[in-house]
Symmetry: C2
Subunit: 327 residues, 2 copies
Protein backbone atom coordinates (compact mmCIF):
# COMPACT_ATOMS: atom_id res chain seq x y z
CA UNK A 1 0.00 0.00 0.00
CA UNK A 2 1.61 3.25 -1.08
CA UNK A 3 0.61 6.87 -1.46
CA UNK A 4 1.41 9.01 -4.45
CA UNK A 5 1.60 12.73 -3.74
CA UNK A 6 3.84 15.62 -4.82
CA UNK A 7 5.78 14.96 -1.63
CA UNK A 8 6.46 11.26 -2.26
CA UNK A 9 7.43 12.01 -5.86
CA UNK A 10 9.73 14.93 -4.98
CA UNK A 11 11.55 13.12 -2.19
CA UNK A 12 11.40 9.55 -3.46
CA UNK A 13 9.93 8.02 -0.31
CA UNK A 14 7.17 5.43 -0.03
CA UNK A 15 4.88 7.23 2.40
CA UNK A 16 3.83 10.89 2.85
CA UNK A 17 5.09 10.92 6.42
CA UNK A 18 7.93 12.95 7.89
CA UNK A 19 9.76 12.68 11.18
CA UNK A 20 11.25 16.18 11.27
CA UNK A 21 14.28 17.22 13.27
CA UNK A 22 14.01 16.85 17.04
CA UNK A 23 16.98 18.01 19.09
CA UNK A 24 18.28 15.23 21.30
CA UNK A 25 15.94 12.68 19.72
CA UNK A 26 16.83 12.71 16.03
CA UNK A 27 19.69 10.20 16.09
CA UNK A 28 20.24 7.14 13.92
CA UNK A 29 18.50 5.01 16.57
CA UNK A 30 15.20 6.60 15.53
CA UNK A 31 15.86 7.81 11.99
CA UNK A 32 17.17 4.49 10.70
CA UNK A 33 13.93 2.67 11.60
CA UNK A 34 11.84 5.62 10.35
CA UNK A 35 13.57 5.35 6.95
CA UNK A 36 13.17 1.58 6.91
CA UNK A 37 9.46 2.07 7.57
CA UNK A 38 9.20 4.16 4.41
CA UNK A 39 8.87 7.61 6.00
CA UNK A 40 11.30 10.52 5.69
CA UNK A 41 13.23 11.08 8.91
CA UNK A 42 15.79 13.72 9.80
CA UNK A 43 18.91 13.39 11.90
CA UNK A 44 19.42 16.61 13.85
CA UNK A 45 22.82 18.06 13.04
CA UNK A 46 23.12 20.07 16.23
CA UNK A 47 22.48 17.04 18.42
CA UNK A 48 26.00 16.06 17.36
CA UNK A 49 28.81 18.04 19.02
CA UNK A 50 30.82 18.50 15.82
CA UNK A 51 30.44 18.21 12.07
CA UNK A 52 32.70 15.20 12.19
CA UNK A 53 30.38 13.49 14.68
CA UNK A 54 27.46 14.22 12.36
CA UNK A 55 29.35 12.40 9.61
CA UNK A 56 29.72 9.37 11.86
CA UNK A 57 26.01 9.50 12.71
CA UNK A 58 25.07 9.68 9.03
CA UNK A 59 27.25 6.62 8.38
CA UNK A 60 25.61 4.81 11.29
CA UNK A 61 22.14 5.60 9.96
CA UNK A 62 23.10 4.45 6.48
CA UNK A 63 24.31 1.16 7.91
CA UNK A 64 20.76 0.63 9.20
CA UNK A 65 18.81 1.35 6.00
CA UNK A 66 19.12 1.76 2.27
CA UNK A 67 16.11 4.10 2.23
CA UNK A 68 16.53 7.89 2.01
CA UNK A 69 16.84 10.05 5.13
CA UNK A 70 17.78 13.66 5.71
CA UNK A 71 19.53 16.01 8.11
CA UNK A 72 17.88 18.85 10.02
CA UNK A 73 19.85 22.06 10.42
CA UNK A 74 18.34 24.52 12.87
CA UNK A 75 19.61 28.02 12.14
CA UNK A 76 19.61 30.24 15.18
CA UNK A 77 21.55 33.12 16.61
CA UNK A 78 23.83 31.71 19.30
CA UNK A 79 26.44 33.24 21.57
CA UNK A 80 29.02 30.74 20.43
CA UNK A 81 28.83 30.69 16.61
CA UNK A 82 27.89 27.33 15.13
CA UNK A 83 30.10 26.21 12.20
CA UNK A 84 27.17 25.66 9.84
CA UNK A 85 29.48 25.51 6.82
CA UNK A 86 31.29 22.55 8.34
CA UNK A 87 28.03 20.68 8.96
CA UNK A 88 26.91 21.44 5.40
CA UNK A 89 30.21 20.23 3.98
CA UNK A 90 29.71 16.90 5.75
CA UNK A 91 26.09 16.66 4.57
CA UNK A 92 27.20 17.23 0.98
CA UNK A 93 30.18 14.92 1.23
CA UNK A 94 28.05 12.09 2.65
CA UNK A 95 25.49 12.46 -0.17
CA UNK A 96 22.50 13.19 2.08
CA UNK A 97 19.59 13.80 -0.34
CA UNK A 98 17.50 16.25 1.71
CA UNK A 99 18.00 18.92 4.36
CA UNK A 100 15.34 20.37 6.65
CA UNK A 101 16.05 23.91 7.84
CA UNK A 102 14.33 25.73 10.68
CA UNK A 103 14.71 29.09 12.35
CA UNK A 104 16.43 31.75 10.28
CA UNK A 105 16.20 31.86 6.49
CA UNK A 106 18.28 29.16 4.79
CA UNK A 107 19.03 31.55 1.90
CA UNK A 108 22.81 31.85 2.56
CA UNK A 109 23.20 28.08 2.39
CA UNK A 110 20.92 27.33 -0.58
CA UNK A 111 23.49 27.77 -3.38
CA UNK A 112 25.83 25.16 -1.89
CA UNK A 113 23.01 22.72 -1.14
CA UNK A 114 21.38 23.17 -4.53
CA UNK A 115 24.69 22.80 -6.35
CA UNK A 116 25.06 19.44 -4.61
CA UNK A 117 21.59 18.37 -5.77
CA UNK A 118 20.19 18.40 -2.24
CA UNK A 119 16.50 19.08 -1.72
CA UNK A 120 15.64 21.62 0.98
CA UNK A 121 12.55 21.70 3.17
CA UNK A 122 12.12 24.82 5.31
CA UNK A 123 9.91 25.02 8.38
CA UNK A 124 7.49 27.98 8.58
CA UNK A 125 4.76 29.01 11.00
CA UNK A 126 2.92 31.56 8.84
CA UNK A 127 1.86 31.78 5.20
CA UNK A 128 4.10 34.83 4.77
CA UNK A 129 7.18 32.91 5.89
CA UNK A 130 6.23 29.97 3.70
CA UNK A 131 5.88 32.25 0.67
CA UNK A 132 9.27 33.76 1.40
CA UNK A 133 10.81 30.29 1.59
CA UNK A 134 9.24 29.39 -1.76
CA UNK A 135 10.56 32.62 -3.29
CA UNK A 136 14.15 31.92 -2.31
CA UNK A 137 13.90 28.48 -3.86
CA UNK A 138 13.28 25.76 -1.27
CA UNK A 139 11.66 22.57 -2.58
CA UNK A 140 8.93 22.21 0.05
CA UNK A 141 7.73 23.85 3.24
CA UNK A 142 6.85 22.19 6.50
CA UNK A 143 4.13 24.31 8.10
CA UNK A 144 3.96 24.17 11.87
CA UNK A 145 0.54 24.77 13.34
CA UNK A 146 -0.28 25.98 16.85
CA UNK A 147 -0.69 22.33 17.92
CA UNK A 148 2.98 21.49 17.49
CA UNK A 149 5.52 20.70 20.16
CA UNK A 150 8.32 23.22 20.44
CA UNK A 151 8.03 26.58 18.74
CA UNK A 152 4.66 27.33 17.10
CA UNK A 153 5.44 31.04 16.72
CA UNK A 154 3.34 33.83 18.18
CA UNK A 155 0.35 33.82 15.82
CA UNK A 156 -1.48 30.81 17.28
CA UNK A 157 -2.77 29.51 13.97
CA UNK A 158 -3.86 25.87 14.06
CA UNK A 159 -3.06 23.52 11.18
CA UNK A 160 -6.66 23.29 9.96
CA UNK A 161 -6.70 26.93 8.84
CA UNK A 162 -2.97 27.47 8.32
CA UNK A 163 -2.47 24.56 5.91
CA UNK A 164 -5.52 25.50 3.83
CA UNK A 165 -4.49 29.17 3.76
CA UNK A 166 -0.98 28.15 2.70
CA UNK A 167 -2.32 25.82 0.02
CA UNK A 168 -4.26 28.77 -1.43
CA UNK A 169 -0.97 30.53 -2.16
CA UNK A 170 1.90 28.06 -2.46
CA UNK A 171 2.82 25.93 -5.46
CA UNK A 172 5.57 23.82 -3.81
CA UNK A 173 4.62 20.77 -1.70
CA UNK A 174 3.35 21.43 1.82
CA UNK A 175 4.10 19.20 4.78
CA UNK A 176 1.45 19.73 7.46
CA UNK A 177 2.92 19.72 10.95
CA UNK A 178 1.34 20.06 14.37
CA UNK A 179 -1.52 17.93 15.68
CA UNK A 180 -0.91 14.85 13.52
CA UNK A 181 -0.58 11.35 14.98
CA UNK A 182 -2.67 8.93 12.93
CA UNK A 183 -4.26 8.04 9.61
CA UNK A 184 -7.20 10.37 10.24
CA UNK A 185 -4.83 13.29 10.41
CA UNK A 186 -3.02 12.22 7.25
CA UNK A 187 -6.26 12.17 5.26
CA UNK A 188 -7.32 15.49 6.78
CA UNK A 189 -3.99 17.04 5.79
CA UNK A 190 -4.24 15.73 2.22
CA UNK A 191 -7.79 17.07 1.98
CA UNK A 192 -6.60 20.51 3.14
CA UNK A 193 -3.99 20.61 0.38
CA UNK A 194 -0.86 19.25 2.06
CA UNK A 195 0.96 16.37 0.46
CA UNK A 196 2.46 14.89 3.64
CA UNK A 197 2.31 15.16 7.41
CA UNK A 198 5.10 15.68 9.91
CA UNK A 199 4.89 13.92 13.27
CA UNK A 200 7.14 14.66 16.21
CA UNK A 201 5.54 13.63 19.49
CA UNK A 202 4.10 10.51 17.81
CA UNK A 203 7.60 9.32 16.79
CA UNK A 204 8.97 10.02 20.28
CA UNK A 205 6.47 7.47 21.61
CA UNK A 206 7.90 4.63 19.52
CA UNK A 207 9.92 1.65 20.60
CA UNK A 208 13.07 2.91 18.88
CA UNK A 209 13.09 6.58 20.00
CA UNK A 210 16.25 7.16 22.08
CA UNK A 211 14.45 8.57 25.13
CA UNK A 212 13.68 7.08 28.53
CA UNK A 213 10.65 4.77 28.77
CA UNK A 214 9.06 7.15 31.29
CA UNK A 215 8.82 9.83 28.60
CA UNK A 216 7.02 7.47 26.24
CA UNK A 217 4.67 6.39 29.04
CA UNK A 218 3.96 10.02 29.92
CA UNK A 219 3.00 10.81 26.31
CA UNK A 220 0.61 7.85 26.31
CA UNK A 221 -0.84 8.84 29.69
CA UNK A 222 -1.19 12.56 28.95
CA UNK A 223 -4.28 13.85 27.22
CA UNK A 224 -4.65 16.82 24.86
CA UNK A 225 -4.92 19.25 27.78
CA UNK A 226 -1.54 18.37 29.28
CA UNK A 227 0.73 20.85 27.54
CA UNK A 228 1.78 24.39 28.44
CA UNK A 229 2.91 27.33 26.35
CA UNK A 230 5.99 28.76 28.06
CA UNK A 231 8.23 31.74 27.13
CA UNK A 232 5.27 33.62 25.61
CA UNK A 233 6.23 36.69 27.59
CA UNK A 234 9.58 36.72 25.82
CA UNK A 235 8.20 36.31 22.31
CA UNK A 236 9.67 32.83 21.98
CA UNK A 237 6.69 30.62 22.79
CA UNK A 238 7.34 26.90 23.22
CA UNK A 239 4.79 24.15 23.71
CA UNK A 240 6.00 21.69 26.33
CA UNK A 241 4.59 18.81 28.34
CA UNK A 242 2.85 20.23 31.41
CA UNK A 243 4.89 19.35 34.48
CA UNK A 244 6.30 20.83 37.67
CA UNK A 245 8.90 22.86 35.79
CA UNK A 246 6.51 24.26 33.17
CA UNK A 247 4.09 25.32 35.92
CA UNK A 248 6.89 26.99 37.84
CA UNK A 249 7.99 28.88 34.74
CA UNK A 250 4.43 30.03 33.99
CA UNK A 251 4.08 31.26 37.56
CA UNK A 252 7.26 33.32 37.22
CA UNK A 253 6.22 34.61 33.78
CA UNK A 254 2.90 35.79 35.18
CA UNK A 255 4.64 38.11 37.62
CA UNK A 256 5.17 41.65 36.36
CA UNK A 257 8.69 42.71 35.38
CA UNK A 258 10.22 39.24 35.19
CA UNK A 259 12.87 38.70 32.54
CA UNK A 260 14.21 35.62 30.79
CA UNK A 261 17.10 35.59 33.25
CA UNK A 262 14.60 34.68 36.00
CA UNK A 263 13.76 31.40 34.31
CA UNK A 264 16.91 30.69 32.32
CA UNK A 265 18.13 27.94 34.58
CA UNK A 266 14.73 26.21 34.84
CA UNK A 267 14.36 26.51 31.08
CA UNK A 268 17.70 24.98 30.19
CA UNK A 269 17.33 22.57 27.29
CA UNK A 270 20.33 20.67 28.57
CA UNK A 271 18.55 20.06 31.87
CA UNK A 272 15.51 18.70 30.04
CA UNK A 273 17.60 16.44 27.86
CA UNK A 274 19.56 15.05 30.77
CA UNK A 275 16.99 14.86 33.56
CA UNK A 276 14.00 13.96 31.40
CA UNK A 277 15.08 12.25 28.20
CA UNK A 278 18.02 10.32 29.68
CA UNK A 279 17.18 9.86 33.37
CA UNK A 280 13.44 9.55 32.86
CA UNK A 281 12.48 12.14 35.48
CA UNK A 282 9.58 13.60 33.52
CA UNK A 283 9.13 16.36 36.10
CA UNK A 284 12.84 17.21 36.13
CA UNK A 285 12.99 19.69 33.28
CA UNK A 286 11.17 21.09 30.28
CA UNK A 287 10.45 18.71 27.43
CA UNK A 288 8.52 19.23 24.25
CA UNK A 289 5.17 17.60 23.57
CA UNK A 290 2.45 18.54 21.12
CA UNK A 291 -1.32 18.48 21.45
CA UNK A 292 -1.24 15.25 19.43
CA UNK A 293 -0.38 13.43 22.67
CA UNK A 294 -4.15 13.35 23.23
CA UNK A 295 -4.32 10.97 20.25
CA UNK A 296 -1.39 8.73 21.28
CA UNK A 297 -2.32 5.57 23.16
CA UNK A 298 0.57 3.15 22.66
CA UNK A 299 4.30 2.70 21.97
CA UNK A 300 4.62 0.79 18.68
CA UNK A 301 7.72 0.22 16.60
CA UNK A 302 8.26 2.73 13.81
CA UNK A 303 7.30 0.08 11.24
CA UNK A 304 4.10 -0.80 13.10
CA UNK A 305 3.21 2.87 13.43
CA UNK A 306 3.77 3.79 9.80
CA UNK A 307 2.09 0.65 8.44
CA UNK A 308 -0.93 1.13 10.67
CA UNK A 309 -1.22 4.78 9.75
CA UNK A 310 -1.11 4.05 6.03
CA UNK A 311 -3.69 1.26 6.30
CA UNK A 312 -5.96 3.51 8.38
CA UNK A 313 -5.65 6.40 5.91
CA UNK A 314 -6.37 4.12 2.96
CA UNK A 315 -9.41 2.76 4.75
CA UNK A 316 -10.77 6.21 5.53
CA UNK A 317 -10.53 7.17 1.87
CA UNK A 318 -11.89 3.93 0.40
CA UNK A 319 -14.50 3.21 3.07
CA UNK A 320 -15.65 6.12 5.26
CA UNK A 321 -15.32 8.90 2.71
CA UNK A 322 -16.46 6.80 -0.23
CA UNK A 323 -19.54 5.77 1.76
CA UNK A 324 -20.27 9.40 2.69
CA UNK A 325 -20.67 10.36 -0.97
CA UNK A 326 -22.43 7.17 -2.05
CA UNK A 327 -25.82 8.32 -0.79
CA UNK B 1 -24.89 15.41 -5.21
CA UNK B 2 -25.60 14.44 -1.64
CA UNK B 3 -23.69 13.21 1.37
CA UNK B 4 -24.78 10.35 3.56
CA UNK B 5 -23.46 10.49 7.14
CA UNK B 6 -24.86 9.76 10.61
CA UNK B 7 -25.62 13.49 10.77
CA UNK B 8 -27.65 13.70 7.56
CA UNK B 9 -29.54 10.54 8.52
CA UNK B 10 -30.27 11.68 12.08
CA UNK B 11 -31.46 15.14 11.14
CA UNK B 12 -32.97 14.47 7.71
CA UNK B 13 -31.02 17.15 5.86
CA UNK B 14 -29.38 16.90 2.46
CA UNK B 15 -25.90 18.14 3.37
CA UNK B 16 -23.62 17.64 6.40
CA UNK B 17 -23.42 21.38 6.97
CA UNK B 18 -24.71 23.37 9.93
CA UNK B 19 -25.20 27.08 10.42
CA UNK B 20 -25.32 27.13 14.21
CA UNK B 21 -26.90 29.83 16.34
CA UNK B 22 -25.41 33.32 15.99
CA UNK B 23 -26.86 36.01 18.20
CA UNK B 24 -28.11 38.95 16.15
CA UNK B 25 -27.49 37.08 12.88
CA UNK B 26 -29.59 33.93 13.13
CA UNK B 27 -32.87 35.31 11.82
CA UNK B 28 -35.16 33.95 9.12
CA UNK B 29 -33.36 36.16 6.57
CA UNK B 30 -30.35 33.86 6.82
CA UNK B 31 -31.81 30.60 8.12
CA UNK B 32 -34.52 30.35 5.46
CA UNK B 33 -31.96 30.40 2.61
CA UNK B 34 -29.62 28.07 4.57
CA UNK B 35 -32.44 25.54 4.86
CA UNK B 36 -33.35 25.92 1.20
CA UNK B 37 -29.70 25.26 0.34
CA UNK B 38 -29.95 21.89 2.11
CA UNK B 39 -27.96 22.75 5.24
CA UNK B 40 -29.24 22.81 8.83
CA UNK B 41 -29.58 26.36 10.13
CA UNK B 42 -30.61 27.63 13.54
CA UNK B 43 -32.67 30.67 14.41
CA UNK B 44 -31.34 32.16 17.65
CA UNK B 45 -34.12 32.29 20.21
CA UNK B 46 -32.56 35.06 22.28
CA UNK B 47 -32.20 37.35 19.27
CA UNK B 48 -35.97 37.69 19.61
CA UNK B 49 -37.16 39.84 22.52
CA UNK B 50 -39.92 37.46 23.56
CA UNK B 51 -41.05 33.88 23.07
CA UNK B 52 -43.98 35.21 21.08
CA UNK B 53 -41.61 37.03 18.72
CA UNK B 54 -39.68 33.79 18.28
CA UNK B 55 -42.92 32.13 17.20
CA UNK B 56 -43.44 34.83 14.58
CA UNK B 57 -39.83 34.36 13.37
CA UNK B 58 -40.30 30.59 13.10
CA UNK B 59 -43.42 31.18 11.03
CA UNK B 60 -41.55 33.64 8.81
CA UNK B 61 -38.74 31.13 8.27
CA UNK B 62 -41.22 28.38 7.46
CA UNK B 63 -42.84 30.60 4.86
CA UNK B 64 -39.46 30.72 3.10
CA UNK B 65 -38.69 26.99 3.01
CA UNK B 66 -40.18 23.55 3.41
CA UNK B 67 -36.80 22.16 4.49
CA UNK B 68 -35.99 21.51 8.18
CA UNK B 69 -34.42 24.17 10.38
CA UNK B 70 -33.85 24.49 14.10
CA UNK B 71 -33.71 26.94 16.98
CA UNK B 72 -30.65 27.73 19.09
CA UNK B 73 -31.17 28.26 22.79
CA UNK B 74 -28.17 29.67 24.61
CA UNK B 75 -28.41 28.87 28.31
CA UNK B 76 -26.55 31.34 30.46
CA UNK B 77 -26.77 32.87 33.88
CA UNK B 78 -28.24 36.35 33.48
CA UNK B 79 -29.16 39.09 35.90
CA UNK B 80 -32.66 39.28 34.49
CA UNK B 81 -33.91 35.67 34.26
CA UNK B 82 -34.73 34.51 30.73
CA UNK B 83 -38.08 32.68 30.43
CA UNK B 84 -36.57 29.59 28.78
CA UNK B 85 -39.72 27.56 29.41
CA UNK B 86 -41.72 30.04 27.33
CA UNK B 87 -39.28 29.82 24.44
CA UNK B 88 -39.34 26.03 24.64
CA UNK B 89 -43.13 25.97 24.67
CA UNK B 90 -43.14 27.96 21.43
CA UNK B 91 -40.50 25.69 19.87
CA UNK B 92 -42.58 22.62 20.70
CA UNK B 93 -45.83 24.20 19.64
CA UNK B 94 -44.41 25.25 16.26
CA UNK B 95 -43.09 21.75 15.60
CA UNK B 96 -39.43 22.74 15.28
CA UNK B 97 -37.57 19.42 14.73
CA UNK B 98 -34.20 20.26 16.31
CA UNK B 99 -32.80 22.49 19.04
CA UNK B 100 -29.18 23.52 19.50
CA UNK B 101 -28.21 24.31 23.07
CA UNK B 102 -25.08 26.12 24.24
CA UNK B 103 -23.69 27.31 27.54
CA UNK B 104 -25.07 25.51 30.60
CA UNK B 105 -26.20 21.89 30.51
CA UNK B 106 -29.53 21.40 28.70
CA UNK B 107 -30.45 18.62 31.13
CA UNK B 108 -33.40 20.41 32.78
CA UNK B 109 -35.04 20.96 29.40
CA UNK B 110 -34.37 17.57 27.81
CA UNK B 111 -37.48 15.74 29.07
CA UNK B 112 -39.84 18.30 27.53
CA UNK B 113 -37.91 18.44 24.25
CA UNK B 114 -37.56 14.66 24.00
CA UNK B 115 -41.23 14.13 24.80
CA UNK B 116 -42.04 16.38 21.85
CA UNK B 117 -39.81 14.31 19.57
CA UNK B 118 -37.28 17.14 19.17
CA UNK B 119 -33.64 16.29 18.49
CA UNK B 120 -31.09 18.14 20.62
CA UNK B 121 -27.56 19.15 19.63
CA UNK B 122 -25.40 20.51 22.44
CA UNK B 123 -22.29 22.62 21.91
CA UNK B 124 -19.15 21.55 23.80
CA UNK B 125 -15.54 22.74 23.84
CA UNK B 126 -13.88 19.74 25.49
CA UNK B 127 -14.22 15.96 25.21
CA UNK B 128 -15.31 15.82 28.85
CA UNK B 129 -18.22 18.20 28.21
CA UNK B 130 -19.15 16.30 25.07
CA UNK B 131 -19.20 13.02 26.99
CA UNK B 132 -21.40 14.57 29.63
CA UNK B 133 -23.81 15.78 26.97
CA UNK B 134 -23.93 12.29 25.47
CA UNK B 135 -24.59 10.80 28.91
CA UNK B 136 -27.59 13.01 29.59
CA UNK B 137 -29.07 12.01 26.25
CA UNK B 138 -28.48 14.63 23.56
CA UNK B 139 -28.59 13.38 19.97
CA UNK B 140 -25.39 14.98 18.73
CA UNK B 141 -22.64 17.30 19.90
CA UNK B 142 -21.23 20.31 18.13
CA UNK B 143 -17.59 20.56 19.16
CA UNK B 144 -16.12 24.06 19.07
CA UNK B 145 -12.40 24.20 18.41
CA UNK B 146 -10.02 27.00 19.35
CA UNK B 147 -10.48 28.44 15.83
CA UNK B 148 -14.12 29.38 16.36
CA UNK B 149 -15.62 32.82 16.61
CA UNK B 150 -17.15 33.61 19.97
CA UNK B 151 -16.39 31.40 22.95
CA UNK B 152 -13.80 28.66 22.40
CA UNK B 153 -13.42 27.98 26.13
CA UNK B 154 -10.13 28.24 28.02
CA UNK B 155 -8.39 25.04 26.85
CA UNK B 156 -7.24 26.27 23.43
CA UNK B 157 -7.74 22.96 21.66
CA UNK B 158 -7.95 23.25 17.88
CA UNK B 159 -10.45 21.20 15.89
CA UNK B 160 -7.82 18.91 14.35
CA UNK B 161 -7.01 17.30 17.69
CA UNK B 162 -10.27 17.95 19.52
CA UNK B 163 -12.54 16.32 16.93
CA UNK B 164 -10.32 13.23 16.66
CA UNK B 165 -10.03 12.94 20.45
CA UNK B 166 -13.81 13.28 20.74
CA UNK B 167 -14.38 10.68 18.01
CA UNK B 168 -12.24 8.24 20.01
CA UNK B 169 -14.79 8.36 22.82
CA UNK B 170 -18.22 9.42 21.56
CA UNK B 171 -20.82 7.25 19.83
CA UNK B 172 -23.31 10.02 18.91
CA UNK B 173 -22.73 12.15 15.78
CA UNK B 174 -20.12 14.90 16.04
CA UNK B 175 -20.43 18.25 14.29
CA UNK B 176 -16.97 19.80 13.90
CA UNK B 177 -17.02 23.53 14.51
CA UNK B 178 -14.28 26.16 14.34
CA UNK B 179 -12.01 26.78 11.36
CA UNK B 180 -14.32 25.42 8.66
CA UNK B 181 -15.24 27.42 5.56
CA UNK B 182 -14.95 25.21 2.48
CA UNK B 183 -15.05 21.72 0.99
CA UNK B 184 -11.50 20.99 2.11
CA UNK B 185 -12.55 21.49 5.71
CA UNK B 186 -15.63 19.30 5.27
CA UNK B 187 -13.55 16.38 4.01
CA UNK B 188 -10.97 16.92 6.75
CA UNK B 189 -13.73 16.86 9.38
CA UNK B 190 -15.23 13.66 7.98
CA UNK B 191 -11.77 12.05 7.94
CA UNK B 192 -11.26 13.01 11.60
CA UNK B 193 -14.50 11.29 12.56
CA UNK B 194 -17.07 14.08 12.48
CA UNK B 195 -20.19 13.64 10.41
CA UNK B 196 -20.85 17.31 9.66
CA UNK B 197 -19.25 20.74 9.95
CA UNK B 198 -20.61 23.90 11.50
CA UNK B 199 -19.80 27.23 9.87
CA UNK B 200 -20.44 30.62 11.46
CA UNK B 201 -18.18 33.29 10.00
CA UNK B 202 -18.55 31.74 6.53
CA UNK B 203 -22.36 32.11 6.65
CA UNK B 204 -22.07 35.72 7.89
CA UNK B 205 -20.24 36.53 4.65
CA UNK B 206 -23.19 35.48 2.47
CA UNK B 207 -25.55 37.61 0.44
CA UNK B 208 -28.50 36.86 2.71
CA UNK B 209 -26.90 37.35 6.16
CA UNK B 210 -28.71 40.23 7.92
CA UNK B 211 -25.58 42.29 8.65
CA UNK B 212 -24.17 45.43 7.07
CA UNK B 213 -22.18 45.00 3.83
CA UNK B 214 -19.11 46.46 5.55
CA UNK B 215 -18.99 43.48 7.89
CA UNK B 216 -19.05 41.03 4.97
CA UNK B 217 -16.35 43.03 3.20
CA UNK B 218 -14.22 43.05 6.35
CA UNK B 219 -14.42 39.25 6.64
CA UNK B 220 -13.31 38.93 3.02
CA UNK B 221 -10.50 41.45 3.51
CA UNK B 222 -9.24 40.06 6.84
CA UNK B 223 -6.74 37.23 6.89
CA UNK B 224 -6.31 34.46 9.46
CA UNK B 225 -4.23 36.72 11.69
CA UNK B 226 -6.93 39.36 12.14
CA UNK B 227 -8.72 38.11 15.22
CA UNK B 228 -8.16 38.75 18.93
CA UNK B 229 -8.94 36.71 22.02
CA UNK B 230 -10.55 39.08 24.51
CA UNK B 231 -11.87 38.50 28.07
CA UNK B 232 -9.21 35.82 28.72
CA UNK B 233 -8.33 37.51 31.99
CA UNK B 234 -11.88 36.95 33.15
CA UNK B 235 -12.07 33.28 32.18
CA UNK B 236 -14.61 34.00 29.47
CA UNK B 237 -12.45 34.12 26.35
CA UNK B 238 -14.08 35.32 23.13
CA UNK B 239 -12.57 35.36 19.66
CA UNK B 240 -13.49 38.58 17.87
CA UNK B 241 -12.47 40.43 14.74
CA UNK B 242 -9.37 42.48 15.52
CA UNK B 243 -10.32 46.16 15.52
CA UNK B 244 -9.91 49.37 17.49
CA UNK B 245 -12.20 48.15 20.27
CA UNK B 246 -10.61 44.71 20.65
CA UNK B 247 -7.15 46.31 20.83
CA UNK B 248 -8.37 48.78 23.47
CA UNK B 249 -9.83 45.94 25.54
CA UNK B 250 -6.62 43.91 25.30
CA UNK B 251 -4.62 46.94 26.42
CA UNK B 252 -6.85 47.32 29.48
CA UNK B 253 -6.75 43.59 30.21
CA UNK B 254 -2.96 43.62 30.14
CA UNK B 255 -2.85 46.11 33.01
CA UNK B 256 -2.61 44.55 36.46
CA UNK B 257 -5.69 44.64 38.69
CA UNK B 258 -8.24 45.50 36.02
CA UNK B 259 -11.69 43.99 36.41
CA UNK B 260 -14.49 43.28 33.96
CA UNK B 261 -16.12 46.53 35.03
CA UNK B 262 -13.25 48.41 33.36
CA UNK B 263 -14.20 47.06 29.94
CA UNK B 264 -17.91 46.36 30.38
CA UNK B 265 -19.04 49.30 28.29
CA UNK B 266 -16.55 48.66 25.47
CA UNK B 267 -17.50 44.99 25.52
CA UNK B 268 -21.22 45.50 25.27
CA UNK B 269 -22.74 43.07 22.81
CA UNK B 270 -25.52 45.55 22.15
CA UNK B 271 -22.96 48.12 21.03
CA UNK B 272 -21.42 45.62 18.61
CA UNK B 273 -24.77 44.64 17.20
CA UNK B 274 -25.89 48.21 16.68
CA UNK B 275 -22.67 49.98 15.63
CA UNK B 276 -21.14 47.13 13.69
CA UNK B 277 -23.81 44.77 12.39
CA UNK B 278 -26.47 47.41 11.68
CA UNK B 279 -24.55 50.64 11.04
CA UNK B 280 -21.56 48.98 9.39
CA UNK B 281 -18.93 50.71 11.54
CA UNK B 282 -16.63 47.69 11.81
CA UNK B 283 -14.42 49.54 14.30
CA UNK B 284 -17.35 50.65 16.41
CA UNK B 285 -17.71 47.66 18.72
CA UNK B 286 -16.76 44.06 19.29
CA UNK B 287 -17.93 41.53 16.74
CA UNK B 288 -17.23 37.85 16.44
CA UNK B 289 -15.11 36.37 13.69
CA UNK B 290 -13.30 33.04 13.52
CA UNK B 291 -9.91 32.11 12.10
CA UNK B 292 -11.76 30.76 9.07
CA UNK B 293 -11.94 34.33 7.77
CA UNK B 294 -8.49 33.63 6.35
CA UNK B 295 -10.19 31.16 3.99
CA UNK B 296 -13.09 33.43 2.99
CA UNK B 297 -12.63 35.36 -0.24
CA UNK B 298 -16.13 36.24 -1.47
CA UNK B 299 -19.78 36.88 -0.56
CA UNK B 300 -21.88 34.22 -2.32
CA UNK B 301 -25.54 33.38 -1.77
CA UNK B 302 -26.19 30.58 0.69
CA UNK B 303 -27.16 28.28 -2.19
CA UNK B 304 -23.99 29.09 -4.13
CA UNK B 305 -21.87 28.55 -1.02
CA UNK B 306 -23.39 25.20 -0.07
CA UNK B 307 -23.44 23.87 -3.64
CA UNK B 308 -19.83 24.88 -4.22
CA UNK B 309 -18.72 23.36 -0.95
CA UNK B 310 -20.41 20.04 -1.68
CA UNK B 311 -18.99 19.88 -5.21
CA UNK B 312 -15.52 20.73 -3.87
CA UNK B 313 -15.73 18.08 -1.13
CA UNK B 314 -16.92 15.44 -3.61
CA UNK B 315 -14.07 16.32 -5.94
CA UNK B 316 -11.47 16.07 -3.17
CA UNK B 317 -12.68 12.58 -2.30
CA UNK B 318 -13.09 11.28 -5.84
CA UNK B 319 -10.08 13.02 -7.39
CA UNK B 320 -7.34 14.23 -5.03
CA UNK B 321 -7.63 11.52 -2.39
CA UNK B 322 -8.39 8.74 -4.85
CA UNK B 323 -5.31 9.73 -6.86
CA UNK B 324 -3.15 9.81 -3.73
CA UNK B 325 -3.82 6.13 -3.08
CA UNK B 326 -3.73 5.03 -6.71
CA UNK B 327 0.09 4.87 -6.83
Amino acid sequence: MVFDTPFTRTFGVRHPIVCGGMTGVGTADLIGPVAEAGALGFLTALTQPTAQALGVEIDRCRSMTDQPFGVNLTLMPTIKPIPYEEYIAVIIERGVPVVETAGRSPEPFLPALKAAGIHVIHKAVTVRHALKAQRIGVDAVSIDGFECAGHPGESDLPSLVLVAAAADQLRIPIIASGGFADGRGLVAALALGASAINMGTRFVATHEAPVHENVKRAIVANDEHATDLVFRKFGNTARVARNAVSRQILAIESEPDTTFADIAELASGARGRDQVLTQGDVDGGLWWAGLSQGLIHDVPTCAELVDRLIVEAHGIITDRLAAAIAG
